[in-house]
């Protein structure tokens, strides 16, 4: 007798859940051992234990909080403003036809310019405060959401729009009942790209000139040749990035309840 397939996959899922932390511990242990055994200079590579210590003191002594708050503020408000603008402009461009089609190639061209390159300019204009960072993050998140909104709304399921035509739906009803939900998946793809870019954008903007933020902390650690502190900030950034991605994904799963979930057993 073979066990049913669902049970096999469930067992495999449990195995994954057990293996993942074990693997992480093994890698960290190996890392620690290698640094000690090979007598690697602490300038080149920090030990995981030193990184953990740096993280601990960073939080306990209160060094991190203001910087963390600054980066999160820039990232979240920039992301919210940028994606809201991207969504609204995307809707406007697709709904008001011809003009949008003229604009689209330019938008794609602008999209391929690295927006982070404007950071020095924006800081020159708006100063070292939060404002300039939020503007850069807004700019960086705007485009992926815009492009995805436009392409999502442009793909029209002919059968569905025919149905709406036969039911004498007006333009607004067709938009709300069919076109927007049809495009939602694509829009969310744009949002998950944007949320990662938001973090990148705020760090790069901080590099270009800031008083507070995790980017500033990274530069300070670099100036002090404190490798462990730099790694500690990278750990923080990884956690923020992961949390933000998961938040967008969670929202998508909630709002787009009808989409089939692929890779149900996927531990991510």
């Amino acid at each position: 007798m073979q066990p049913p397939l669902s049970m096999v996959s469930r067992l495999r899922g449990q195995a994954n859940r057990a293996v993942m932390p074990a693997l992480a511990i093994a890698v960290l242990g190996l890392w620690e051992l290698m640094v000690v055994a090979l007598k690697v200079s602490p300038l080149v590579m920090a030990k995981p234990s030193d990184i953990a210590t740096a993280l601990w003191t960073g939080f306990v002594e209160g060094l991190y909080w203001t910087h963390l708050a600054a980066t999160l503020t820039e990232m979240v408000s920039g992301f919210l403003i940028g994606s809201a603008l991207g969504l609204v402009c995307g809707l406007a461009i697709t709904e008001f036809g011809r003009f949008g089609r003229l604009l689209f190639p330019y938008l794609v061209a602008i999209q391929s310019i690295p927006k982070v390159a404007t950071a020095p300019l924006i800081i020159m204009w708006l100063g070292f405060g939060l404002q300039s960072k939020i503007v850069l993050v807004t700019l960086i998140t705007f485009f992926p959401v815009l492009i995805n909104t436009i392409s999502g709304l442009s793909v029209v399921d002919r059968m569905r729009t025919d149905l709406m035509a036969v039911l004498l739906a007006n333009r607004w009803q067709t938009f709300l009942l069919v076109r927007l939900p049809s495009a939602a998946h694509q829009i969310f793809a744009g949002l998950s790209v944007a949320v990662v870019l938001a973090l990148t954008g705020s760090i790069v903007a901080e590099f270009a000139g800031a008083q507070r933020g995790l980017g500033v902390l990274l530069l300070q650690a670099q100036a002090n040749l404190d490798t462990a502190a730099m790694f500690a900030v990278l750990v923080l950034l990884a956690i923020i990035g992961l949390a933000a991605t998961m938040a967008v994904r969670g929202l998508e799963r909630r709002l787009l309840y009808w989409t089939e979930r692929r890779n149900e057993g996927d531990p991510t």
Binding site: M159, V166, Y257
Partner: protein, 277 residues
């Protein structure tokens, strides 16, 4: 004078008023700037009120174009399509359309999908839900009112689509190969159900189909079409008694009528023959 006791749909004299009329209809599609494809040529067809007409023909004979003209999604290149004497310019509330695919919106439940026409028309939703519930039960979807379309089988989705089409109490029901995607067993059951639904609703029905026995089983009249450009090759009256049911399928007259339709598609070597089995 028209007698109220007269059976509907048979060759009648005096005639009841025609519900849907195609008069000398041609349709051409623009392929490129100058090239056109002629899909329909000289279609002359009148459906009496309450009549059930099936259209059979090979792929690409313009059957679907015929329906799209009737529902007002297309305008004829020449001739007129009229309903109750008025030319069709755009979709109307008293005409329902059933697509090849059920076209259920996955973000709505079965109930929400089925009541969509009333929601769009701004009608009484409480009443609509009540009526939808009854109709869903009648087509065997009891217990699936709040399911999502994804949870239904293809046949169940198409039943829901039929309910959606009936919600507005249409005078005319247009169906574009509604069971084309279903397996043979489901299809047979759907035909039995559709026969009783159509008989009960009193709608005028125009059904496009690939299935010869299905066309004969359901209709008062079968229209056979030729390949591109689509012309009417023959109209065959189907004087089988109603209600149609399993016994109809076993009747020798039924087989004879099917054979008569099939003859059109079985000239040796003809392209039309291969499409039908």
């Amino acid at each position: 004078m028209q007698s109220p006791l007269e059976p509907t749909g048979l060759a009648l004299d005096p005639k009841p008023p025609a519900a849907l009329v195609f008069h000398d209809v041609d349709h051409e599609y623009y392929v490129r700037r100058s090239a056109t494809v002629r899909a329909l040529a000289g279609i002359e067809l009148a459906l009496a009120t309450g009549e059930f007409v099936s259209v059979v023909g090979p792929s690409g004979c313009g059957k679907t174009t015929l329906l799209r003209l009737a529902v007002g999604l297309l305008r004829p290149s020449r001739g007129t399509v009229s309903i109750g004497g008025e030319p069709v310019r755009s979709p109307r509330r008293d005409v329902s359309f059933i697509f090849q695919d059920a076209v259920m919106l996955p973000w709505f439940s079965v109930m929400e999908n089925v009541t969509l026409p009333i929601r769009i028309a701004g009608g009484d939703m409480a009443m609509a839900r009540l009526r939808a519930g009854e109709l869903l039960d009648r087509v065997g979807l009891t217990g699936f009112h709040n399911a999502t379309p994804m949870q239904l089988s293809g046949g169940m989705r198409q039943r829901a689509a039929i309910v959606r089409a009936l919600m507005t109490r249409p005078r005319i029901l247009l169906m574009d190969e509604p069971f084309g995607a279903l397996d043979a067993l489901t299809r047979e059951q759907m035909n039995l159900d559709l026969a009783s639904i159509a008989e009960a609703s009193g709608c005028t029905v125009l059904l496009i189909t690939h299935g010869i026995s299905e066309a004969v089983f359901l209709a008062n009249r079968v229209v056979v079409m030729t390949p591109r450009p689509g012309r009417i090759a023959e109209m065959i009256d189907i004087p089988l008694p109603r209600p149609r049911n399993r016994r109809t399928l076993a009747a020798p007259e039924f087989a004879a009528l099917c054979d008569r339709v099939r003859e059109h598609f079985q000239h040796p070597g003809s392209e039309m023959a291969s499409a039908y089995e």
